[in-house]
Amino acid sequence: MDVLIFARLVLFVTGRLLKAHTFSVGELDRGSDCDKPAEPVTVGEGTPRGRELGVVVETRTRGEAYADLRQSAESGWDRSRRFDAPHGELAAFRAERAGLPEVSSEEAGRYVERHRAGRPWLETAGRASPEALRIIVAADLGGGHGHIRHEGWVTERASMRRVAYLEDPAQLDAAQRQRGIDGLRPGGRYHVCGGLASRITDPDAYATALAHGAEDPDVSTALSTPYKRDRHPDLVRIPIADLLGKDGHKVCTGWQLEPVEGSIDVARDNRRAWRVAIAEGRQPDVPQPAARPVPTFEGGTIVFVISQNKQRNGYEIATLFPQPPARDIPSR
């Protein structure tokens, strides 16, 4: 009886909290369907459970909740969906097949503990299986950025702002990020992004895509290319379904730049001009860029970029990112 009374109390309080924290699309969209560039950015998902009552505590910013809700509403993305990873395969995967350093599970755990403060994308450790974590740490030891910009650590909001405002999720200094400064390239370079910012939302799915991609004949051939300074193997595209199964597209999300005057060329050009003006403290003479969720990744591909490794003596999988079917990508 005490358990029943307690359960009813939990349900009552939960209902009140959910009403207080539910954001309606109409309220968020009031006035603009663009996030405000000046809003403080929190890069990271956090919905810890309140210890006393076992209820979900909302820790997302309004912008994060807005972006999540738009993505869910417009693409059907299920934020709670978890990828059913092939744990045995991941455990057996040798990272050297991807041109990456070998890491044991124990080493991966120690690495995360040692570096998570300065490398917050390792927070994915909280959600990754041990087998997947080992692969993600191997990627972090490499020279690439896929696990930083295209994995679940990146929020929908960060992905949206990347494509709309060229704000780099890898840039940990908030002021520099709002100025559009790349977080991984030296010299204060502006961050670049195409007309699409996408991610694989689940760390186990990301690790699976990397592991399966490394076994693809075209990727394997690219990785085996005799090393030559300044040479890059060609990009490789692999169907999402081949890497993550028939429902793999459901753990892929993205935001695409809204065309301007019907042209994505004009939109990218305007975005660059807007970005430079904002960074220089000038009033832009082009419209503020806007982004919309990619409607679906079903039938899409994952692109693999193979680049020089850190040691400059071979090649590694530097990044991978999902792309929707060509029919859903805005044309020139």
Partner: protein, 101 residues
């Protein structure tokens, strides 16, 4: 599957130009510096073909598969013509575009 242009049309017009431009200049790669160094290799057959196609694309823009170039390279110059001209300057400086000797 929507594969890359050079995979779908290995002998298609400007396949070398689009492939190399994508490989080095796609925003997820963004390595103009390596391409600039490669562009100086006069004895490299692939880079000679690339330069020839770039020259042809600039002087005959109506022959360029513009949508393919835009969707592959994702330049932010505003148009294929502006991108190709800027690329020539980035790689070959003040060298005249005209027909090579």
């Amino acid at each position: 599957m929507d594969d890359f242009y050079w995979k779908r049309h290995p002998d298609g017009p400007f396949a070398v130009l689009i492939r190399i431009a994508t490989t080095y200049l796609h925003p997820e790669v963004d390595d103009l510096e390596s391409l600039q160094r490669l562009a100086q290799l006069d004895d490299d057959s692939e880079m000679r073909a690339f330069k020839s196609e770039l020259r042809q694309a600039i002087t005959h823009p109506d022959e360029v598969p513009r949508d393919e170039l835009s969707s592959h390279v994702e330049y932010d110059d505003g148009s294929p013509e502006k991108f190709l001209l800027r690329l020539w300057r980035d790689l070959y400086g003040d060298e005249p575009i005209g027909v090579s000797g």
